[in-house]
Every structure is written in C-alpha cells, then in structure tokens.
C-alpha cells in the first residue's frame, strides 16, 4: 500500500501514508471549522446528520452507475440538503422530520449497497472513513473541496452572519436570507462529499459540531470561534492520527474522540476561568 522513502523531498513525503492522512485531516478542518460554526449558530446539527447519512446512499448510487464515489456523494448530499431546506421553509416540525430523513437515508443507502452486483464493498470504510488509505488524488479532492468551501464562506461571511442573526435585519440591508441559506446548503454538501473518506458518514456531523462547540468556550467573536474551530479540528486530526498509530485504534473515530476530549477540557477550563 505504501512505500517507505528515504528521501524527504516534498513530493516524496506525500508517499508516506501518514503524511497524506495528516494532510487530509487538516484539509477537512479548514472547511469544517467555519461551516461547523454556522451549523452550531443556526442549530443545524440534525440537518448536518441527515445530509451526511445520505452520503451512503450516494456511495450506493455511485457504485451502481460506475461514477466516482465523490460525485455520487456530492449529488445525493445536495439533493438531501435541498429537500431538508425545502421542508424547513414550509414550516414542518423539523426535529422529527430530520430524524426520519437522516436515519432512513442511511438505512436506504445500506440496503442499496447490498444490491451492488459483483464487488464486495468495504462498508466500514464509508461509515467510519479510511483516512490511512487516502491517495494523492483523494488529497487533491479534499483540499480542492475544502479550499473552495472556505473561500465561499469567507466571501459571503458578513452576509451569512447577518442572515443568521435575522431574516428581517438581512432584508433591510439588501441581503436575501434564502440565498445565503442556499450557500450554506451547498457548502455542507461539498464538505460531506469531501469528509466521507476522512471520518466516514456516521462521524461527519461530529467533525462539524464538536470543534465549533469547543471553540465557543473561549471565543469572544464569530471570527475567533470559526478560526478556533479550524485550530481545534486540526489538533484533533493530528492527535487522533497519533493515537491511532500508537494504539492501533480506528483512525476516524480516534479523531472524533480527540475532538471530544478537547471539547470537554475546553469547557471545563472555560467554566473554571469564568468564575
């Protein structure tokens, strides 16, 4: 799977699977940080779950129609995100509706995968990620997607923040809250497609919510919270990989566990220092 190289030039470093894994984790954190902040602020946690779980259905469709998995995931995540926003705008009771959508998308995806002829699919790779098997082309997709999302959010930042505060305040400033919601929907679908390889469908939402929630403990402005979430996501990715390497634990869950540890320590420290 990997070749151990002795020359440590830039290109050769990418031949090391651990380096590629670390870069994949950091790449994801760059997009998941600021997007996760919006997911937390707008209480979209379940929305993220529904979209992420739909990724499994995307995998099944991609295998059936022989298109790249990223394309299938992106397509289905986009469809799911659009469906959820549409329902939300029609005023459905979101909690139950999202629960139904999230879990049925996952179940339907798993059923659909069992129908894929020929190949035996390694399901756990899609459910929990396979970051140690990230290839150079995977890295290109992850960084390309992440940087696109980060650039999109940076470009729309002030509009997104205003729309998050209130639709009316946004409208008075000439900002269409629906359009900004669509920007977030799009960003979410891209992040889900990109994150599938890194932490898997079951834990994508965790990588959005936990670093941002951990950053809330010390953040005094929206911007510090978003950057803090990137930093915490990066530390969690590297720490989780180290743990996985040292103790032979599954990489994706180890990364999320590391993020959860940062959250707990950060919250505790925040509570104590605020006294």
């Amino acid at each position: 799977m990997t070749t151990i190289t002795t020359t440590r030039t830039g290109a050769a470093m990418l031949d090391d699977f651990l380096v590629r894994a670390a870069l994949a984790g950091v790449g994801l954190a760059i997009a998941a940080g600021p997007l996760g902040a919006f997911v937390v602020w707008r209480r979209m946690a379940y929305f993220g779950d529904a979209t992420a779980h739909a990724a499994i259905l995307g995998v099944a469709l991609a295998l059936i129609f022989s298109v790249p998995v990223t394309v299938g995931t992106l397509f289905v995540a986009l469809a799911m995100a659009a469906a959820v926003s549409w329902l939300a705008n029609r005023g459905h009771a979101m909690d139950a509706t999202l629960g139904v959508l999230a879990h049925s998308a996952l179940a339907l995806g798993l059923v659909a995968i069992s129908f894929v002829p020929g190949v035996r699919v390694d399901l756990s790779a899609f459910l929990f990620g396979d970051i140690l098997a990230v290839s150079k082309s995977d890295l290109a997709v992850i960084w390309g997607g992440s940087l696109t999302v980060a650039a999109l959010l940076a470009w729309r930042w002030a509009r997104l923040l205003t729309a998050t505060l209130s639709r009316e305040l946004a409208a008075a400033s000439g900002i269409d809250a629906d359009r900004e919601g669509l920007v977030l929907t799009l960003a979410l679908a891209v992040v889900v497609a990109v994150a599938l390889k890194v932490v898997g469908a079951l834990l994508i939402a965790a990588m959005l919510i936990i670093p941002a929630a951990a950053a809330r403990g010390f953040a005094r402005s929206p911007e510090t919270m978003a950057f803090g979430a990137v930093a915490i996501g990066t530390v969690s990715a590297l720490g989780g990989l180290w743990v996985s390497w040292q103790f032979d634990t599954p990489a994706g869950p180890s990364i999320v566990t590391a993020a959860a540890a940062v959250f707990i320590v950060g919250t505790a420290v925040g509570r104590l220092t605020r006294r």
Partner: protein
Amino acid sequence: MSLISAQDVSVSYGGATVLEHVSLEVEPGEIVTLVGPNGSGKSTLVKVLLGVQKPDRGRVTRARRLRIGYVPQKLHIDASLPMPVARFLSLPARKPAGRLAEVLERTGVPGLEHRQMADLSGGQFQRVLLARALLSDPQLLVLDEPTQGLDQPGEAAFYDLLETVRRETGAGVFMVSHDLHVVMSASDRVICLNHHICCQGTPTVVRDAPEYHALFGRGTHGALALYQHEHDHDHDHDHAHGGGHA
C-alpha cells in the same frame, strides 16, 4: 417621490386573511406611525415592506437603492454565537471605530463596543439596535415597537433623537407603536390597522375617528382608550418590560 409605497397589498396565511388591500406610502422627512391591536397584521406589514414576506396580491415599490435602517421588535441571538457590540454594529459592512463610538454616544450607550450583546440589559440592547440602524445612513428608518425595554426618560430621549435625525438627514420614519405619546406628539401621520386600514391622517384626525374608537374601545378620550388597550395586553410584553426595568 415616495421612499417606499405599498399598493393594494393582501396577505393570508393558510386561509386567514392577515392584510387586506393595504396601501400606504412614506415620504422623505415624514414620520408615519402604524397602530393596531395585537394580531392586526402590523408585523406582517413590516415584513412585506422589508421584502421578507411576499404579498399574495399587490406590490411594494421602493425608491432606487433605498437605504433602510431597521430596528426589530426583538432580536434573539443564539447563545452559541459570540457577538461583541462593535461586531454587531459592523454587520454587514465594516465601520471605522470612530463612527461606532460616535453613534453609541448618540444613542446614549457610550463605550459599549467590547461588551457582548448577550450581556446587555433590555434598554441597552434596544439602543444598540437603533445605533446599528443609524449607521447605515438610512433614508428610511423602519422601527417595530422601538421603545420596548426603555424607561420613561429613555423613551423621551429616543423620540428627541428620532426628531433630530429626521431634521438633520431628512430620513423618513415608519414606526409600529402601541405608545400613545408617539401617536400624539412625534408623528406626522397615523395609520390605524386592523387587517385593513381603518383610518389614517394626522394624530388629531385619527384620535377623533369613529373607526379608531371602534377598534380601541370607546373611552372618554382616545388617549385613555389606547393606554388601556396597551395595558390589557401587557402579558405579551413581559420579557421586554422586565428587561427594561432590570
């Protein structure tokens, strides 16, 4: 040329008619106050004017590139969103620190820049909302129950400031209010709404209109009737009043 006008606007939610054939306009430099009982469609009308709610019938016309300063009735900022006052004032467009200090001084809450919005009292919060509205150099101020949470002197200062802003900038003001002082002294024109426009005109004309008395109860004096109305519905404003007196 009006700053903003609504022509024959009708809105209904799930069969219930909220606004029926409402037409109005606000001219530059004019203070127009909208009064009406709870559930009379005041907030919906504001949403229609801001462009958040699409009318089922009729249309809203705005002056080209109209700058609107909006003060909402209430604004809930999620506890997960850290928001210092200076950042809030700079949304969506960044403003120099000098201007922020100046407008906070003007609205009676100097030096709050680095406080968190969540830590402000009801009165401070309301003034910061007004400060943000003023920062956009508005041609039209849209104020939804803007003195909620302010005490009596704060309220008086608020209307003084409104008058000054109108005089200095020529901005038009569209205000939703329960407050009779405003209706009587600060407005040029009062519109009385109960799904449709019942009556409108100068404060004195509206005060004497039978439609107005029918809507707010037949007291010995219009002023008294409106006050009683407000107090009858005090439970709806508990949080705002509580915040103001805290």
